[in-house]
C-alpha cells in the first residue's frame, strides 16, 4: 500500500467516523432553570430531577409510565409489619468509573442525607426511615443509628418508623439515590465537579456550562447500556418560554418541558400532535385564613368556593384546558382510587352562586354590608388572570376584592407568617400518594397556610398512615378528605397539567401523572 493510498484510506475512515458521530442520537431538551447542583442531595426542582434521574439510579426507578420498577435492586421483600424492607442488589452493578456499587454506598448516601452538617433541603422526604428525623434534628448524633444497614455488599435493609405504603415511590426520589462513597470521601465538595463526578445511572455528565447546558453521554458501566437508543442528552437552560418555543420551531430543541399557554391554540393548528397536555399530580388552590374573622366562618369559605366558576378557568382563562378541581387529592393518585368531592360539585353554576349568596347572607354579608377580602398572589401572568377572574366571580356575591401581588419569596414568606386573608398556592406531588396532598391541611404543618385546624382530620390522617392495608388506608383518607372539603378548609381550583412539546421524531414519550420522562425510555427516528 503506497503512501497516497494509506492517506486516502485514513481520510475515508475519519470521514466515516465523523459522519457517524454527526448522526449520533443526542436529545436536545429545553429544561428551564439552571441546576443548583448535580449532587442529588442538593436538589429541589423538577428541572434538576430530569438530569439527576438520567445520571443516577436508586434502588427502585421509574418506567416510562412512572410506575416503580427495579433499579439498582433486583428484588425486595417487606416484613409482615410493613416496617422492614430488604433489598437485593443486582449482580455486577458499577459506578461509571468501574467500581462496584455496594449496599454500603446506599448506607453512606442515606447517612449523608440526614446528617444536619450537610443541610440537605429535601432530607425530610426520607423522614419515614427510622431515626432519620431525630438525626437531622441533632437529637441523635450517631449516624449508625439510622435505619439503613448493609447486611453484606449485595443486601440492604431499611427499617421504617411506621409502615409507609408509599415508601417504594419515595425511593424513586433523588434523595434516595446512592453516592460513590470512594469519590465523595476522596474529593470532598468537589466530588460533583465534571471530571470528578461518578454516577450509576444510564448516562453520565460530561459537560456543565452554568446558564447554558448540561451534556450527558451513555454510561458504559450501566447494566442496560446496550438497550439505550439515545446516545446522550443536552439539557438546556432557558427560562424564557417564548424563546424556547422559537428554538423548538427552528429544530434546535427536541423536547420542550413547558410552553406559553397562550400559544396552545396556535400549536394545535401548526404543530399538530406535538403539544402534550396531560393530567399532572398537582393542585392549584387558594388558602383562606381560617384564623381570621370573617374567614373563620365556614359559611364564608364555602360561599367563596362555590362562586368560583372552575369550568371556565382551564379552557378559557388559561387556554390549556386544566380540569376543574372539586377534590383535594387529584384523581389518578396512586394508592387511593377516586377521591372525595365537594357535595355541591354537580349543581348548575347559577345554583351554586345562589347558594353562595345565601350562605354569605347567613354569615351577615350582602349588598348592604359587602365582604372586603384581600387576595394575594405571587407575580405571574396566569396567577393574575385567575385572580382577576375570580374577583369578578365573587363580585355578584357583594364581595369587594383587593388584589395584591408580590414576588414569590415575599408572597410565601407572608403566607407562612399567616399575613394573608386569601392567598394563591400550588402543590406538586413529591411522591405519588394521597398523603402528600392531605398532609397540607394537618394542624401545624408549615404548608397549612390557611391555618385550618380540625383534630378529627388530624387523627384520621394519623390513623390512615398507621394502616398497612391499602384499601382500609384509602377509606380512612377519603373520610379525612371529605371532612376537609365539607369544611372548605381551602379552595381547590384546578388540577395542574403537564405541558410538554415533543418532536415527531421522538418515540417512547408517555404522558404520566408525575411528568417524569427518563431518556432511557426514549428513542429518536432519523
Amino acid at each position: 500500500m503506497n503512501k497516497f493510498t494509506k492517506k486516502f484510506l485514513a481520510s475515508a475512515m475519519l470521514g466515516t467516523l465523523l459522519a457517524f458521530s454527526a448522526h449520533a442520537a443526542t436529545l436536545n431538551i429545553h429544561n428551564g432553570g439552571d441546576p443548583q447542583s448535580l449532587d442529588p442531595q442538593k436538589l429541589s426542582g423538577d428541572w434538576e430531577n430530569r438530569i439527576a434521574g438520567d445520571i443516577f439510579e436508586g434502588l427502585v426507578t421509574e418506567d416510562a409510565k412512572d410506575n416503580p420498577v427495579p433499579g439498582q435492586a433486583e428484588s425486595w421483600t417487606i416484613s409482615p409489619d410493613g416496617k422492614v424492607y430488604t433489598f437485593k442488589l443486582r449482580d455486577g452493578i458499577k459506578w461509571s468509573d468501574g467500581r462496584p456499587v455496594t449496599a454500603g454506598d446506599f448506607v453512606f448516601a442515606f447517612q449523608r442525607l440526614v446528617d444536619p452538617k450537610n443541610a440537605a433541603d429535601y432530607a425530610y422526604l426520607q423522614f419515614t426511615i427510622k431515626n432519620a428525623e431525630k438525626i437531622n434534628k441533632g437529637e441523635i448524633t450517631d449516624l449508625s443509628q439510622l435505619g439503613v444497614k448493609a447486611i453484606d455488599d449485595k443486601t440492604l435493609e431499611i427499617t421504617l418508623e411506621n409502615p409507609t405504603p408509599y415508601f417504594l415511590n419515595a425511593l424513586m426520589h433523588y434523595t434516595a439515590y446512592p453516592l460513590p462513597k470512594h469519590v465523595v470521601e476522596a474529593k470532598g465538595q468537589d466530588w460533583v465537579k465534571i471530571g470528578n463526578i461518578v454516577t450509576n445511572g444510564p448516562y453520565k455528565p460530561v459537560e456543565w456550562v452554568p446558564g447554558s447546558h448540561v451534556t450527558t453521554v451513555k454510561n458504559d458501566q450501566w447494566y442496560g447500556t446496550k438497550e439505550l437508543k439515545i446516545d446522550g442528552a443536552k439539557f438546556f437552560v432557558l427560562e424564557d418560554q417564548e424563546a424556547a418555543l422559537k428554538r423548538y420551531r427552528a429544530g434546535e430543541f427536541d423536547i420542550l418541558t413547558d410552553f406559553p399557554t397562550d400559544q396552545y391554540e396556535w400549536m394545535k393548528k401548526n404543530l399538530p400532535g406535538q403539544a402534550h397536555v396531560a393530567p399532572f399530580s398537582g393542585l392549584y388552590y387558594y388558602v383562606v385564613n381560617s384564623q381570621k374573622p370573617p374567614f373563620s366562618d365556614k359559611r364564608v369559605r364555602q360561599a367563596l368556593s362555590m362562586a368560583i366558576n372552575r369550568e371556565v378557568i382551564g379552557p378559557q382563562i388559561l387556554g390549556t384546558g386544566e380540569l376543574p378541581a372539586y377534590s383535594w387529592v387529584p384523581p389518578g393518585t396512586a394508592n387511593y382510587g377516586e377521591p372525595a368531592y365537594v357535595s355541591w360539585k354537580d349543581l348548575p353554576y347559577k345554583d351554586k352562586v345562589a347558594e353562595a349568596k345565601k350562605l354569605l347572607a347567613d354569615a351577615g354579608f350582602g349588598p348592604d354590608k359587602p365582604l372586603h377580602a384581600v387576595l394575594s398572589y405571587n407575580t405571574n401572568d396566569n396567577h393574575k388572570r385567575i385572580a382577576v377572574a375570580i374577583a369578578s366571580m365573587w363580585k355578584p356575591l357583594g364581595v369587594d376584592v383587593e388584589l395584591v401581588n408580590a414576588e414569590t419569596k415575599v408572597h410565601y414568606d407572608q403566607m407562612q407568617r399567616g399575613q394573608v386573608e386569601i392567598g394563591r398556592a400550588g402543590w406538586l406531588a413529591d411522591y405519588n400518594d394521597p398523603d402528600n396532598f392531605l398532609n397540607l391541611l394537618v394542624t401545624g404543618v408549615q404548608m397549612n397556610y390557611g391555618r385550618w385546624s380540625n383534630p378529627e382530620y388530624d387523627k384520621l390522617i394519623k390513623d390512615g398512615n398507621a394502616q398497612t392495608d391499602l384499601t382500609k388506608r384509602a377509606e380512612i383518607f377519603k373520610k379525612a378528605e371529605q371532612l376537609a372539603l365539607d369544611e372548605s378548609a381551602a379552595l381547590p381550583i384546578y388540577y395542574y397539567v403537564s405541558k410538554n412539546v415533543v418532536s415527531p421524531k421522538i418515540e417512547g414519550f408517555v404522558d404520566n401523572i408525575q411528568d417524569i420522562h427518563r431518556t432511557r425510555w426514549l428513542s429518536m427516528k432519523e
Binding site: D34, Q36, S37, L38, D39, K42, S44, P116, K117, N118, A119, A120, D121, A123, Y124, E133, N136, K137, V192, K193, V209, P210, G211, S212, H213, F236, V237, L238, E239, D240, E242, A243, A244, K246, R247, R249, A250, E252, E407, T408, K409, V410, Y412, D413, Q414, Q416, A425, G426, Q446, M447
Partner: protein
C-alpha cells in the same frame, strides 16, 4: 497622566465600600429569605441551612465576616448554585458576556460613528433622512421586541442563523445577539456623532481647511473627527459597562450563559452572596471603564488632565 489615573482610582475606594455596605444591609432588609419558596422547608432543615451559611449569626457579625472574606478576595458561596462559588460563577460567565459585549461595543462604534458622520456630511439631505430613520428604529424599539422579530425572520423563516444558544461559539450563533445588543447603542452613538460633527464642521478651523482646498473626506478624517469624538467618548464609558456586564434581556432571550442574568436571578432568589458578588464585580468594572474614559478624555483634551 499616571498621577491623574491613581488619584481617580483612590477616590473610588470609599464609594465602593459604601456601596458594598449599603447593598449588604438593604438586601437583608428585603422581605423573604433565600430559602423561602413554594415549598417551605421544615424548621429543622432551615436551621441546618442557616447554620451552614452563617445566617444564624447576628447581622453585624455576618457583615464583618463577609467584609473579612472580601478583603481576602473571597466573594463567598452562592446559595442557589452550590457547586460553584460566586467568584467561580462570575469567571465562568465572563468570557461569554465579554465576547458578546466587546463585539457589540465595536459594532456599535463602527456603525454609529459611520452613520453619524454620513448624516452630518449629508445634513438634511436624503441619505441623512434614510440613515437617521433606520438607526432610530434601533433606539426606539426595545431589544425584547427586536430580538424575537430577528429570531423569527432570520432564525425560523430564513434559517440563516440559530435562534439561540452559544453552540460552539461560532459567528453564526453570535450574530443575532450581537446585533440586538449593539443596535440601541449604535443609534445613540450616531445621533451624538452627527450633532457633534455638525457643530465641529461649522468651526473656523474647518472652514480654513476647506478654504485650503482639502477634500471633504480628508477634512473629516484629519481635522473634524478627533474633536467631534469628545461627546462620543463620554458616552462610551456607560455604554461599555452596560454592554460588558451583559444584557439581561438579550442573554435570556438567546439563552446565553453570560453573567448578565445572574444579578436579577440572584436578587429574585435572595441569593445574598451572588447579588453582592455581582454588585462588586459591576462596580469594579464600571470604575475601571470610567477610568479608561477619563484617560481617553484627557488624551483628547489636555486641559482635562491639568485640572
Amino acid at each position: 497622566m499616571i498621577k491623574y489615573a491613581l488619584r481617580r482610582l483612590l477616590s473610588t475606594i470609599p464609594v465602593m465600600w459604601i456601596a458594598v455596605t449599603a447593598s449588604f444591609f438593604v438586601l437583608r432588609l428585603a422581605p423573604g429569605g433565600p430559602f423561602d419558596g413554594e415549598r417551605p422547608l421544615p424548621p429543622v432543615i432551615l436551621k441546618n441551612l442557616a447554620a451552614h451559611y452563617n445566617l444564624d449569626k447576628p447581622l453585624i457579625q455576618q457583615y464583618l465576616l463577609y467584609v473579612g472574606d472580601l478583603l481576602k478576595g473571597d466573594l463567598g458561596p452562592s446559595f442557589s448554585s452550590e457547586d460553584f462559588s460566586v467568584a467561580q460563577q462570575i469567571m465562568i460567565g465572563l468570557p461569554y458576556t465579554f465576547t458578546i459585549g466587546t463585539a457589540a461595543f465595536l459594532l456599535a462604534i463602527i456603525v454609529g460613528v459611520t452613520v453619524g458622520c454620513l448624516g452630518a456630511l449629508y445634513q438634511n439631505k436624503t441619505p441623512d433622512y434614510i440613515l437617521g430613520s433606520l438607526i432610530l428604529i434601533g433606539v426606539v424599539l426595545p431589544n425584547f421586541l427586536i430580538a424575537p422579530i430577528l429570531q423569527l425572520i432570520f432564525g425560523i423563516h430564513l434559517a440563516w442563523f440559530p435562534v439561540g444558544g452559544w453552540g460552539d461559539g461560532s459567528l453564526k450563533f453570535l450574530v443575532l445577539p450581537i446585533v440586538v445588543l449593539a443596535l440601541p447603542h449604535a443609534g445613540r452613538i450616531s445621533r451624538i456623532t452627527r450633532g457633534s460633527m455638525i457643530e465641529v464642521m461649522n468651526q473656523n478651523f474647518i472652514r480654513t481647511a476647506k478654504a485650503k482646498g482639502i477634500g471633504p473626506r480628508l477634512t473629516v478624517m484629519r481635522h473634524a473627527l478627533k474633536p467631534a469624538m469628545m461627546p462620543v467618548v463620554s458616552y462610551l464609558g456607560p455604554a461599555a459597562s452596560y454592554l460588558l456586564t451583559g444584557s439581561l434581556v438579550v442573554e435570556s432571550i438567546f439563552g446565553l450563559p453570560g453573567i448578565g442574568r445572574y444579578f436579577v436571578n440572584a436578587a429574585l432568589n435572595r441569593d445574598y452572596g451572588m447579588v453582592l458578588g455581582t454588585v462588586i464585580f459591576y462596580m469594579v468594572l464600571i470604575v475601571f471603564l470610567n477610568l479608561l474614559v477619563d484617560i481617553a478624555y484627557a488624551w483628547l483634551d489636555p486641559k482635562v488632565r491639568n485640572r
